[in-house]
C-alpha cells in the first residue's frame, strides 16, 4: 500500500473525527495544530483507522507516535489492503 493511498483513506477519517472538512493530514501534522484533537477524539481516530485498515495497534505503538507521518509508517507496515 502506498503512502498516497493511505493519506487518501485517512483524509475522510480525520475530517469526520475532528469535524473539519478542510483538514488534510500530512506527515508533519501533530495534535497541537488541530484544536479538536484531544484524548477522546484521539481514541475515535485510532479506532476509526483500525477499522478502516483492518489492523490492530498496540498501546505502546500509539503512545509513541510523534506525528501523522509516524502513524502512516505503522499503518503501511501493518495494512495488507
Amino acid at each position: 500500500m502506498t503512502d498516497e493511498e493511505i493519506y487518501s483513506r485517512l483524509t475522510p477519517i480525520f475530517r469526520d473525527v475532528f469535524d473539519d472538512d478542510t483538514l488534510t493530514p500530512h506527515p508533519e501534522m501533530t495534535a497541537a495544530e488541530v484544536p479538536a484533537w484531544d484524548s477522546l477524539s484521539n481514541i475515535r481516530l485510532v479506532v476509526a483507522v483500525e477499522v478502516e485498515f483492518k489492523i490492530q495497534f498496540s498501546t505502546g505503538e500509539v503512545a509513541a507516535l510523534k506525528n501523522v507521518g509516524e502513524f502512516v509508517n505503522v499503518i503501511r507496515q501493518r495494512a495488507t489492503r
Binding site: 481514541i43 475515535r44 485510532v46 479506532v47 477499522v51 490492530q56 495497534f57 498496540s58 498501546t59 505503538e61
Partner: protein, 142 residues
C-alpha cells in the same frame, strides 16, 4: 430493586457478542421527556396533526430511542465498566407510542490499543427499521 449493570472485564469482550433488548415507549415517558426537554412540537404530542402529515399517530421522540441505547451500553454491552466515547444514530422510520420494539447490538471491533469497543446497533419494530448506528465505549479499569 433496580436492575444491576452487567460487569464485563476487558478479557471477556469479544467481537461478535450480541445483545437484544425489547422495549416499548409509553405515554408517561413521552410526557416526562416533553417536560424535561421542552420539546412540545406537535408531531410528538398531537395525534390529529401527526395523522394529517402522514403518520399513524404521535411519533416517539428520537431521544427516547437514544435513551434505550444508553441502557444497552451502560447495563449490558459493555456494561458497568464502559464509558461512552461516541454515539451515532440514524432515524429511519417512526416509532409510535406503545409499539413493541427491539434494540439489537453487536460488538464489531475490540481495540487493544485504546481499550475501547465498538458496537453496531439496529432498532426494529416488527419488520420496520426504526434506527441504526454505532456506539463506542472505553472500558475502565476494574
Amino acid at each position: 430493586m433496580s436492575e444491576r449493570p452487567r460487569v464485563l472485564v476487558w478479557s471477556e469482550l469479544k467481537e461478535g457478542m450480541t445483545v437484544s433488548l425489547p422495549f416499548r415507549i409509553g405515554q408517561s415517558e413521552m410526557d416526562t421527556f416533553r417536560k424535561l426537554s421542552g420539546d412540545s412540537s406537535r408531531i410528538h404530542i398531537d395525534a390529529e396533526f401527526a395523522r394529517s402529515r402522514g403518520f399513524s399517530g404521535p411519533v416517539v421522540y428520537g431521544a427516547l430511542t437514544v435513551a434505550r441505547l444508553s441502557h444497552l451500553v451502560g447495563m449490558h454491552l459493555p456494561g458497568d465498566l464502559g464509558l461512552a466515547t461516541s454515539w451515532r444514530i440514524d432515524f429511519n422510520q417512526p416509532l409510535y407510542i406503545g409499539e413493541e420494539a427491539i434494540f439489537n447490538g453487536e460488538l464489531t471491533h475490540v481495540s487493544q490499543s485504546t481499550h475501547t469497543v465498538s458496537l453496531k446497533f439496529r432498532v426494529y419494530a416488527g419488520e420496520k427499521l426504526i434506527a441504526s448506528g454505532t456506539a463506542g465505549s472505553k472500558l475502565l479499569d476494574e
